[in-house]
Symmetry: C2
């Protein structure tokens, strides 16, 4: 608390949870330090569009400093939290520095989980960051290039065989868009292969895709995926993945490109607290979103395990925003010496896009699918994008790719940290 | 020459030279293979905008396959040429394949040259590819972040000290834009530093910046740079560069960020020919742009050493385009059994931008500088951008950043191959 007697709030993570908490504290007499490993807020719901070359990385990201430049009680700090001392109330950073806090909010989100098979990560990359998205984009585009120059027909088929593991919203979006790329975007561009012969498979271990939606919408989604050219496999888990393909039940399927959209684990920062966590690494909280026994520490977003009406609050952007805003209210209540209110999740509904003009929407029983749902999805997502410029550019990109089937970001950058020898 | 008796033209490099040659052969009864290490044509004149976060990488690049999708006599191949057998008339590729040619065009461009100091490359990256641009962008943005968290005032000053080595068009563009970022774009965003106190220095070993322009325009450029906040140092070469700074004459200057815009060397592919080359590695050519003694091998663009009226044809985009188109004509003449015409470079003038609303234009003695020159520069560059969508998006980005001083691509991606431990 150098140079100020105002209470110091440290917020770790500039995603939906952390950013919404920061903004909701704009008028409070506190000093906020927002710490993030990256310099930008990321609009994660559109990340699959960067992975599939429909959007540029900067289209869905904005520098945290820029977003918060006019909020004078906040200092943005690029850094990585490596330790939390709950007794001394300090947070230590990878660069050796440490900062003391009066209130701490952990909103560091989630990462991929490979269910004990971390060795799959090199051959089945997941999608959480912009770098992940660019690495996946590179693989998808390179697979078609490799197929084009490949003279062995069996090899060629493996390059044209794509699998997305996990039938949640991200998996459905990726598979649907990938099929669109193969069938439409790349049309006429190759001389030795027909990209529309590419096999795109979506694999879900459970009985249906989009399990968080009503069964009728899962069925709609499956039919829309089929129409787009995606083969949906349900009820069978993937039991092995390597550079040459994957094993489904007992069958090995040659496939050079596998994308992982199956598992989510809470950010490892939760482990620094030394408090009980659930199987996915999330921290069960008091009803004001504070950590049990630590009223000065809060959690928001994917790292939080919150139940409501016997059901877990889902790991979606609206929930993270609501939690972030609630934590700001709870901190204000503490500062005023009042009891903090309990968090109530307001579920506005559930939407998922499937591909060109196909989506499913569930608004408390009011169900939409197909073209109308897609327009609804588009409007909601563009509306919530941070920053006027991004909205405009994203809309223009969409209009352009809708009209032309083209995807402007089909640029292969050289680096791929997962395969440095490539 | 599998499956076809049409003459096979191999074109190496999809830059301005290679792409213009390919297009000019669209109606010829030849089979063309266009080989490039990257999947995209790059509009290099705007590369500095990607490095300085004004444009996204995909804004100035388009997939070669897409550009050429309707030209049915061309096959685009992603690959790296590793050998040329001029007797057997074959080109070998890094993937082990080889292809035979009837005519060969080398249009593989140029790379950085450190004048015998290759050890400087890690601390003073150059700007030739999109990956270079993203690496420089990352360094520029991270320098301000490091300064913000730095508690040692001397260290902090070194993070806020920037140098661009080389006063040609690229160096001038980079320095001018960097000063704009420090003075305007980052305004109000930091809490511990004032970015406008950053020192931006442009260092030119020769007597003046923009040496290819008339002296009066060099002087104008220097004054415009000064107004933007750039300190221009001429007549003094940099004698050493390391991670902590650079040495100018005998003085060591602490600076964490140095960008190299000083030297260009022709692509190493020229060495594969085993023919005489000039000091910069360029190949002197016959007046039809063929390699002396090898009428079936042509060179276009930065790898070509061509004199006209006692002066070298400059390494600029219009020259590369003209050479590419000329090589296509020469090949057509050869095929028709006629003598190939001599290449004539048509010099339409010289333009360079300096920064916000500042540029210099020299059209055969008709000179412009300042705002009018900038509008001229902008119109010319946007007009020549390949692909309608890119033009529109680039114009919109420009309008937006002109109006707001903002640069939408200020996103730090994680990887930097030059400093993997970072």
């Amino acid at each position: 608390m150098t140079g100020s007697t105002r209470p110091h709030v440290i917020i770790v993570g500039g995603g939906f949870g952390g950013l919404w908490a920061t903004r909701a504290l704009a008028d409070s007499d506190v000093r906020i330090t927002l710490i993030d490993r990256r310099n930008h807020h990321l609009f994660q719901p559109l990340l699959y569009q960067v992975a599939t070359a429909g959007l540029s990385a900067p289209d869905i990201a904005a520098p945290l400093r820029h977003i918060l430049r006019n909020q004078h009680n906040v200092e943005v700090r690029l850094g990585e939290v490596t330790g939390i001392d709950m007794k001394a109330r300090t947070v230590s950073l990878a660069d050796g520095d440490s900062e003391s806090y009066d209130y701490l909010l952990l909103a560091s989100g989630a990462t991929h989980a490979y269910f004990g098979h971390d060795e799959w990560s090199a051959d089945a990359p997941g999608l959480k960051t912009l770098d992940d998205a660019l690495a996946i984009r590179r693989r998808l585009l390179l697979a078609f290039e490799r197929a084009e120059t490949c003279t062995d027909p069996i090899e060629r088929e493996a390059w044209l065989s794509f699998a997305v593991v996990g039938g949640g919203p991200t998996g459905v979006e990726l598979a649907g868009t990938l099929a669109e790329i193969a069938r439409h975007t790349l049309k006429r561009e190759f001389r030795n292969i027909d990209p529309s012969h590419a096999k795109v498979r979506l694999i879900e271990a459970g009985p249906r895709v989009l399990a968080s939606f009503p069964e009728s919408l899962s069925e709609r989604a499956r039919r829309q995926l089929h129409k787009l050219g995606v083969e949906v496999v349900t009820g069978t888990p993937v039991s092995a993945i390597d550079a040459n393909g994957y094993t489904l039940g007992n069958t090995f399927v040659p496939a050079r490109t596998v994308v992982w959209a199956a598992g989510v684990a809470a950010s490892p920062l939760g482990a620094l607290l030394g408090v009980p966590r659930d199987r996915a690494g999330r921290v069960p909280l008091e009803d004001d979103l504070s950590v049990p026994g630590h009223p000065d520490i809060f959690i928001a977003g994917d790292l939080a395990s919150v139940q409501q009406g016997g059901k877990p609050v889902p790991g979606v952007a609206p929930a993270a925003k609501q939690m972030g805003a609630h934590v700001a209210q709870a901190i204000k209540a503490r500062l005023a010496g009042k009891p903090a209110p309990a968090f109530r999740y307001r579920d506005f509904g559930n939407l998922a896009t499937i591909g060109r003009m196909a989506a499913v929407v569930d608004l408390h029983g009011f169900k939409l699918s197909g073209l109308l749902a897609w327009w609804f999805w588009l409007a909601a997502h563009v509306f919530f994008l941070i920053g006027f410029r991004n909205r405009l550019i994203v809309l223009l990109n969409w209009a352009w790719s809708y009209w032309s089937y083209q995807r402007h970001a089909r640029i292969i950058l050289e680096r791929d940290p997962a395969s440095p020898s490539d």
